[in-house]
Point group: C2
Chain length 255, copies 2
């Protein structure tokens, strides 16, 4: 069955979107056919791949709320081997609308089950919250990856995230499992970074990916170029790190 990976962390700015875009591109470069689904109403993944979220008449919104066919909404080949089911400003209003619908938490899972065959991976970018679309992403996914910034505030939110996952599994008929945590924006020169990495390693042990995404301005610039880092600067540290992460993901998922 098509492995679906949610990139999840309710803390803001932990490189969820940067990971969603670049892990997807690296999986595609490794030969996988990938669908990236932007489940964040703020649409950073969509903007980061060059689409205008204010000017999109076809997005995840139409599938979730209007029951539109997914095939007609997908932006093809945003990177070789990688398609995008975009977010749009319509999705921002949708969370409230969705929640009034009994069993709203399964709607995103249903949308994903309707995507056409031919993909090897689905990757979901989710919002910095424990709200409707984030919960929907966890319910839709087989696995989740937690990108954790090598900073102090990261530690507090993790417990809350794991409690939420436990509720999703117990109450919402989901078997989503933690594929791993990946340290992001790691600056090995700072003692704070090293301390936080060590602390998180104690908690997660082998669940922590060996790959650490190092801080690298090129990654932030790639968003300015509206493309994955692999397209913008294939030799940069950012590209190296996300390729390594993709290899670990493939190894852990087993396909």
């Amino acid at each position: 069955r098509l492995p679906t990976i949610a990139i999840a962390n309710q803390k803001g700015g932990t490189a969820k979107t940067t990971t969603a875009i670049n892990l997807s591109a690296a999986l595609a470069e490794a030969g996988k056919r990938v669908l990236l689904v932007d489940a964040d109403p703020q649409g950073s993944a969509t903007s980061g791949l060059g689409l205008d979220i204010y000017d999109l008449d076809r997005s995840l919104y139409d599938a979730l709320v209007e029951d539109a066919e997914v095939g007609g909404l997908v932006a093809r080949e945003v990177y070789p081997g990688m398609d995008l089911l975009p977010s749009s400003v319509d999705l921002a209003g949708a969370e409230r609308e969705l929640e009034r619908d009994l069993g709203w938490h399964v709607l995103l899972r249903e949308v994903i089950s309707e995507i056409e065959p031919g993909y090897d991976y689905v990757v979901l970018d989710s919002p910095p919250s424990l709200g409707t679309l984030m919960i929907s992403s966890l319910v839709a996914a087989d696995y989740f990856i937690i990108p954790i910034q090598a900073q102090v505030f990261s530690l507090h939110g993790i417990k809350q995230l794991m409690d939420t996952v436990r509720k999703v599994r117990d109450r919402l008929d989901s078997r989503v499992e933690l594929l791993g945590v990946v340290m992001t924006m790691v600056d090995w020169r700072t003692r704070l970074s090293r301390r936080v990495v060590r602390q998180i390693e104690k908690t997660f042990e082998e669940r922590m990916f060996r790959t650490k995404i190092r801080i690298n301005t090129r990654l932030a610039e790639a968003a300015e170029h509206e493309a994955p880092i692999l397209a913008v600067d294939t030799k940069s540290r950012g590209s190296e790190d996300y390729r390594k992460l993709a290899r670990e993901v493939i190894e852990r998922v087993g396909v």
Copy 2:
């Protein structure tokens, strides 16, 4: 009337909490009596000042949902001249509960109108979303400050934030006005940082604070020490920058 300033930006990780804590401390150091209100269910400001959000039986939740008296909930002198109305994990569940209440958007404003006299400023830390508590913060405030990270993804969200503020003013009987935007985590060595600052300056002109908060690991470490940067390293760039910002805020507010 007591100037109330919401620190707002729905994009994650733009240094809202870092600004809420350190601007408040710098205002206090400048002789103002400040109440910091943590309106973010993730409670980073509360954790960053040394309180345990999992072990707090008195927080903003009790005022908003249980009608408890504010005076009994406040943590006094988290820094000289600065008190904190903390968040707690209870607030996480509250957003849904709150929204079912007709006119929920005025509840936080009512709580703040009941705080005891003696404060010169109220500062509100808000979540990375355009949801209940963030809207409540805008409605409760006289002014809002937008901390903007010197990165690309920042630009997309600003339009959405300003549209939201416009709706709040038109429909929810609020006169909240933009006190200014402050560039955060600015790394002058990178061309990306400089480009983004220039671009935002074009949009906001004199509304951009002259003070730019430079990237400074000490600011992230201060959170590890669970105190404002002024307490942890009073000579650091982080302390300098937030003092300068406080002076500009006092000048613009006029008290």
